[in-house]
């Protein structure tokens, strides 16, 4: 390691969360702190006046270099419930297309007095680069970078699992589908292993698994029926349209047949198993409608929890 390289770019000198770039490398105490804080915010969402003044006077910049509706909206709602000023920038169609560099864009926004940058970028590591260049009082929250990480999604998945299952240390969790391209999967795997889940499984054909995926601490299954057996949590991943026919997979139909979640496959999991999906779903490709809308599904509660989790992350980093 070069001596110049930072020990952990997410934490400040006191070991507190300065930026949220990745779940990897965060101690379990910080993950638990975020989940506990989110729980305290869950009530706010239910109230008639859905606002707390924690981020009053602060500016949150939604900096999306890659298109997104859902994640951007939930961040916006979360920031507004914390009473922050939210500025949405669709950078994909503005300055970047005029040739401005990533760091110049950030420097310009920083000159407008930002407190928090919510960053989504198609390149893995882009939020790390930004975090290295922002001022000490500015915070970067990764809203998804390339295939690397989507930490707030990972955290809301952890929140959902904790909400329904209570104790992480006795769970068997299966993550199914396109792990190769999935930042959601990477973040969730790190979160689950950090919080002591004894068995995390990934279920996918070889073409959708990255090299040495076992090194992340997961067990690999190619047979979905074997992989789902006795699982407490089943997380389905989205399969991007462009990956459905080509060198990785022959067709969506064949994928669904072998890796789509149907009621009869789900029956192999524990009777009280929950089914999750980060959205947006491809019904009939990775998940059957009867399961997506069925009794085991917690897909819509995930979205609701997502707001509380993002409020928690923003209030914690801005408070540090």
């Amino acid at each position: 390691m070069p001596p110049s390289s930072p020990h952990n770019p997410q934490l400040n000198a006191n070991g507190e969360l300065q930026h949220l770039l990745s779940i990897e490398g965060l101690p379990p105490e910080i993950l638990t702190q975020i989940l506990d804080t989110a729980e305290s915010f869950a009530g706010v969402t239910e109230r008639e006046v859905k606002k707390v003044p924690l981020l009053r006077g602060k500016s949150v910049f939604n900096l999306f270099f890659e298109a997104s509706t859902r994640t951007r909206t939930t961040f916006e709602i979360a920031a507004k419930r914390l009473s922050a000023d939210v500025i949405n920038l669709n950078v994909a169609v503005s300055s970047q297309s005029k040739g401005e560099s990533l760091l110049d864009t950030v420097a310009n926004l920083s000159a407008m007095h930002a407190d928090v940058f919510i960053v989504r970028h198609s390149s893995s590591g882009a939020p790390h680069l930004i975090a290295r260049h922002v001022k000490p009082h500015e915070h970067v929250i990764n809203a998804g970078d390339g295939r690397h990480a989507h930490p707030t999604q990972g955290l809301l998945d952890l929140y959902t699992i904790r909400h329904y299952k209570k104790n992480f240390t006795q769970l068997r969790v299966a993550i199914v589908g396109d792990v190769l391209h999935s930042r959601v999967a990477r973040s969730l795997i790190h979160g689950l292993t950090t919080l002591g889940v004894p068995e995390v499984r990934v279920i996918a054909p070889q073409t959708l698994l990255p090299a040495g995926v076992e090194s992340l601490g997961v067990r690999v299954f190619h047979d979905m029926r074997a992989g789902l057996k006795d699982c407490d949590v089943v997380v389905m991943l989205r399969l991007q349209n462009e990956r459905m026919n080509g060198a990785l997979l022959p067709s969506a139909q064949e994928f669904f047949k072998h890796y789509g979640l149907t009621a009869d496959k789900l029956a192999l999991a524990r009777p009280e198993a929950i089914v999750m999906h980060p959205g947006p779903m491809n019904r009939g490709v990775e998940i059957d409608s009867s399961v997506a809308d069925g009794a085991h599904s917690v897909i819509l509660p995930q979205v609701t929890f997502g707001i509380a989790v993002r409020m928690a992350v923003m209030s914690i980093v801005a408070g540090n």
Partner: protein, 421 residues
Amino acid sequence: MKLLVKGGRVVDPASGRDQIGDVYVSEGRLVESFKDKPEKTIDAKGLVVAPGLIDLSARLREPGYEYKATLESEMDAAVAGGVTSLACPPDTDPALDEPGLVDMLRRRAKALARARVYPIGALTVKLAGERLTEMAELAEAGCVAFSQANAPLADTNVLWRAMQYAATFGFPVWLRVEDGSLARGGVAHDGEVATRLGLPGIPAFAETLALGSLLQLVRATGSRVHVCRLSSAVAVEMVRAAKDEGLPVSCDVGIHHVHLSEMDLGYYDSNCRLEPPLRSQRDRASLAAGLADGTIDCAVSDHTPVDEDQKQKPFAEAEPGATGLELLLPLALKWGAQANLPLAKTLARVTSDAARILGVQSGRIATGAPADLVLFDPDELWRVGPGALKSQGKNTPFLGYELAGRVRATIVAGKVVYERR
């Protein structure tokens, strides 16, 4: 002009000689001795006196990329790093595929009167991998070998014909081996680190598949091939077997790959974005061992100055390459020390062995050899940083490192071209 280098530790890698002595230079060559008073005497007490380094891959960025570096800045860097001869790959803009360009480059380099420059000609027009260049014309203009630099040559038929054609004239072909379709889109070794960082990977077999094909073509054509920038343990094994078989192959390794692995990517350090990618610890260990046992003939800097803007980008978007001319000597010394090699043997990999591949008389301290010398203090520590580098490229994974081994003076053809007091 007569020059006396007095009282240094004279190390000749070609013969293994390593003793305190004087070195006499007359008319640009090394001589036994002379009676008359020298015009210049350099006191080399406490310094190593060795042949100047010969770097088989250094990008000077001219023509076409003068905003990244100029011939002048990089030739300064070369002599400051003790490099007295360098081969430059053809991936300039335009590529070195016409005699006029090669001629101009050589003239410009000569006018600067620093290191000797040996251009490597493009194997195919525009490095596009379709049509052969006029190799004989290019050789007349001064090209010493032919290469695709980092450009893929996907069409095996073109590769076969190019090797046949080069073999006809006895021209060496220098090739990096990488299967283009397996490497497409990849930016890091396809392993645990790339998986963790979410970076598209290039598997090690992208290298060994291409190497396997290349070795078959060597058998078929008898073409003399120098394999550039090995990066994987299996490739080292394959070259070892090919040499045992008696095939006319040699190979080199980038000095960064001898020291660094995928682990050094850390949190997306774009200075570690290199071609080929840094691979696993096991690969790195095999490269270092292969260089020590001679399977790998020499180490190169693969000097690639990149402007700051092109490195201040997310890892996958950053331009690959690292500055290296001024790091080749200390990094070679560091490797030699780790491998417990005598200094002469360490230096051979960046002097006499490289000279053998390049087919030049330099790289040794012997009567009649060109007076290309480097004087350095092997123990002097210096910190790598923008201010310490003459190259316009400040991009190095070793930024902030303290390295041992610093050049005091560099002599090319009997003239002192660099001196630091």
